[in-house]
């Protein structure tokens, strides 16, 4: 594994590789496995990601009943927009038969739908790929598949992009943290957005240096983000934070592709993220003792969940 983003970029640039290819070569050295074996392993993860997108778009509910169905809602709105765009029958007021159309366009609207889908499957105890964590598992597939679609990327390019994201994530883990309990949501959704931004730039044909700028720009947009889950569950606000994080990742990728540089280099941003995490109070690091978790609505949800369970039959007790 690389010690820094700078080292990853240097190796890739000097050898005319993508950062994904450079990260895979290093992983082969570290693990003693062939690059073919590593590719198959990553292809398996890509397939699980794709499957979880499909299942989430079809509509799932969480075990608590608190969340679900939003990926489907987003996908339907997006499909609607596509049909309108194709047939050019949008009403003069910018709506389709009175229903307001999404304004983000592609790949953003798809990325939001896919991120919601995977995060909802996770909340519903479905199978996902932690990337880097289960709580932030929607961001990377959201960006990957939506950007892949508009650029016509095949599976081998998507696999390469996952190695790019993984190489970036490994540096973050080494220099800082990927745990919400240690660093807040910036360490989970923030890291996922940074990884996804690098993957997006690589798919779009950007240079290694541009990938590094995308990492820095995405991370800076989410620094300080706290982890304040209602009732301690990976649902509110986690699912929708996955969706909003894809917007940050795409904005960062586009800035980097336009040649915009981050004034603070990626490695220093990563260090800053770790330092900010250590300064966050415990109440904002996954303990459900602060932030959204203790709002009137957050507290009401907790008491409703407890009341439901107290009343519910508990067949497993003393079964």
């Amino acid at each position: 594994m690389y010690a820094s983003i700078a080292e990853l970029v240097d190796v890739a640039t000097s050898r005319s590789l993508t950062i994904g290819a450079a990260a895979r070569e290093q992983e082969a050295l570290d693990s003693g496995q062939s690059q073919d074996a590593l590719n198959s392993k990553m292809q398996e993860r890509l397939a699980v990601m794709r499957d979880s997108v499909g299942r989430g778009l079809a509509g799932v509910r969480s075990r608590s009943g608190l969340t679900g169905g939003d990926a489907r809602r987003m996908a339907e709105a997006r499909t609607h927009t596509r049909i309108i765009a194709r047939t050019r029958t949008a009403d003069a007021d910018g709506t389709a038969g009175g229903a307001p159309m999404p304004i983000g366009g592609e790949p953003l609207d798809s990325a939001i739908a896919y991120a919601l889908a995977v995060a909802e499957v996770n909340a519903g105890m479905g199978r996902i790929v932690a990337a880097p964590t289960a709580g932030s598992c929607g961001v990377l597939p959201g960006v990957l598949f939506s950007v892949g679609e508009i650029r016509g990327a095949g599976d081998s390019e998507l696999v390469d992009a996952l190695f790019a994201a993984g190489g970036v994530g490994a540096v973050i883990a080494r220099r800082s943290t990927l745990s919400g309990a240690a660093g807040g949501c910036q360490a989970e959704c923030g890291a996922a957005a940074a990884m996804a931004a690098a993957a997006a730039v690589q798919i779009a044909g950007g240079a290694p240096e541009q990938c590094a700028n995308a990492v820095a720009l995405a991370f800076k947009g989410l620094l300080g983000l706290v982890c304040d889950p209602v009732a301690g569950l990976v649902e509110v606000p986690c699912i929708k934070r996955n969706a909003t994080s894809v917007a940050v990742a795409l904005a960062a990728a586009d800035m980097a592709l336009a040649g915009i540089r981050s004034v603070i280099p990626a490695d220093e941003v990563i260090q800053a993220m770790g330092a900010i995490g250590r300064e966050l109070p415990a109440s904002l690091r996954e303990t459900a003792l602060g932030g959204l978790a203790v709002t009137p609505t957050g507290k009401r949800i907790v008491s409703e969940i407890n009341a439901t369970h107290d009343k519910a039959e508990e067949p497993h007790l003393n079964s």
Binding site: M1, A23, R24, E27, D30, S31, L38, K41, M42, E44, R45, V48, S62, R63, S64, L66, V121, N122, A123, G124, M125, G126, R127, I128, V129, A130, A131, P132, T133, A134, G135, C137, L140, L162, F163, A165, G166, G167, G169, A170, A173, R174, L178, S179, A181, M195, A231, G232, L233, V234, E235, A288, I305, H309, P315, H316, L317, N318, S319
Partner: protein, 223 residues
């Protein structure tokens, strides 16, 4: 640790690496320690496990692990039904287990041979676990490598005989911890290994004078 597949991965059933995937692994470790599927499991949840187990599926995850499922098994949400079908009784309670990690469980397991074993462990983040107690012995191992759990009567030479047998089998010891209830009383050795121990070698170790039981534990968590 922290290779690329720890970052893009693991493949797991959600929603939480610590409260779901880690709980499956704790159940798997418990199953391995009692040497197969228990007939009965009484599980006591502590701290964050006790507060949020329903929403995170920590309860179904623990039962799934005890049934031998891996963290990516899509049958995990239905583990209660499968346990009933297979005739494994289980129950849950919540209690303060004292000065332990917030994500901790105490598993009282009736083994396949009728023996009762108590296993305590914690999910320490990212799906990684630590087993902290087996019966009355404090232990500390992560289940990332092969391990031998040897119960014996404390006397000189037992450990030397075990380790020399492992040496002749070309099995390398990565870590070892020995504890005992008192001099010449019941003792427990946890020996973490780089290679698995063959069935034959395990049988030879069991025959060493003073040794009661030898359990060979496969890895339950990725290294």
């Amino acid at each position: 640790m922290n290779g690329i597949f720890d970052i893009i991965g693991p493949i797991m059933v959600g929603p939480s690496s610590s409260h779901t995937a880690g709980a499956v692994r704790l159940g798997l470790a418990g199953r391995a320690i009692v040497g197969g599927q228990p007939s009965r499991a009484a599980l006591t949840l502590h701290g964050s496990f006790a507060q949020t187990y329903r929403g995170h599926g920590t309860d179904v995850a623990l039962v799934a692990g005890i049934l031998g499922m891996r963290p990516d098994d899509e049958r995990i949400p239905g583990s209660f039904r499968i346990a009933r079908e297979q005739g494994m009784e289980f129950s849950f309670s919540c209690a303060d287990l004292g000065d332990v990690h917030p994500n901790s469980v105490l598993m009282e397991l009736a083994g396949p041979n009728g023996s009762q074993t108590t296993v305590a462990g914690s999910s320490v983040g990212g799906g990684n676990i630590t087993i902290t107690r087996i019966d009355r012995f404090d232990v500390d191992f992560t289940g990332t490598s092969h391990a031998l759990i040897v119960s014996y009567r404390d006397q000189p030479g037992v450990i030397a005989k075990i380790t020399s047998l492992l040496a002749t089998e070309d099995v390398n010891i990565a870590a070892m911890r020995v504890s005992r209830e008192g001099r010449h009383a019941r003792a427990l050795a946890i020996i973490e290994l780089d290679q698995p121990v063959s069935r034959e070698a395990r049988a030879l170790i069991t025959r060493i004078s003073g040794i009661d039981t030898v359990i060979a534990l496969p890895p339950v968590a990725p290294a």
